[in-house]
């Protein structure tokens, strides 16, 4: 069952399947769907390969992969040489989270009400499990 971070009325007694705890490797093609399954606040996600291509074949994956690259380029430019592997950007209509490691980037578009700490926890857990 996916967690809905922003829903305080979610039943506590609901059975909790926490895919983040599993140590099984995850194929790159499955990573975005896995993240969506894990966190209901995620509206869409994309795993971007080191060469800039999306790992999955989901709708909009190519467009989102390109935009993720643009986002991180813009952040790198804004930081003037300082390195960051984790970024969040909040707009009026939603939030974007991105984590990168070893050239791979996992990005998610989420509801504005999502909790950043939990989003990053799920993003990092998913990215660490991806087979490379």
């Amino acid at each position: 069952m996916a967690r809905r971070y922003s829903d305080p009325s979610a039943p506590l007694a609901a059975p909790r399947h926490d895919p983040a705890v599993s140590a099984e490797p995850l194929s790159p093609e499955r990573a975005a769907a896995h993240l969506r399954d894990m966190a209901a606040d995620v509206r869409t996600a994309v795993l971007v390969r080191p060469d800039g291509r999306p790992a999955g074949r989901e709708e909009h994956a190519g467009e989102l992969a390109g935009l993720t690259g643009e986002l991180l380029d813009a952040v790198d430019g804004a930081l003037r040489g300082e390195r960051t592997d984790q970024v969040e950007a909040h707009t009026e209509r939603g939030s974007v989270y991105a984590v990168r490691r070893d050239g791979w980037t996992l990005a998610a578009v989420a509801r504005r009400s999502a909790l950043s700490s939990l989003m990053f926890c799920d993003l990092r857990a998913t990215l660490e499990r991806v087979e490379r």
């Binding site: 869409t44 909009h60 935009l67 952040v75 804004a78 390195r83 950007a89 707009t91």
Partner: protein
Amino acid sequence: MREQPRGPLGRATAVAEGVAAAVRRRQRERGPRVLTYDEAGRARLLAPSARGYDRVLEVAERMVAVMDAEPRR
């Protein structure tokens, strides 16, 4: 140490100030913002005046817009 409000009027004023501060804080949190994290996990708020800030938000808005074109799950 903060002085305790005296009398009903003082307490009402303190409550109103608390509510106003909470509203301002909430509005600030709802506004556009960009945060980056270093390797130790320390957050850094990108200043709106920083070079590239507008560009980051513009790209983020485009990413959100991709999903706005879709029916909500």
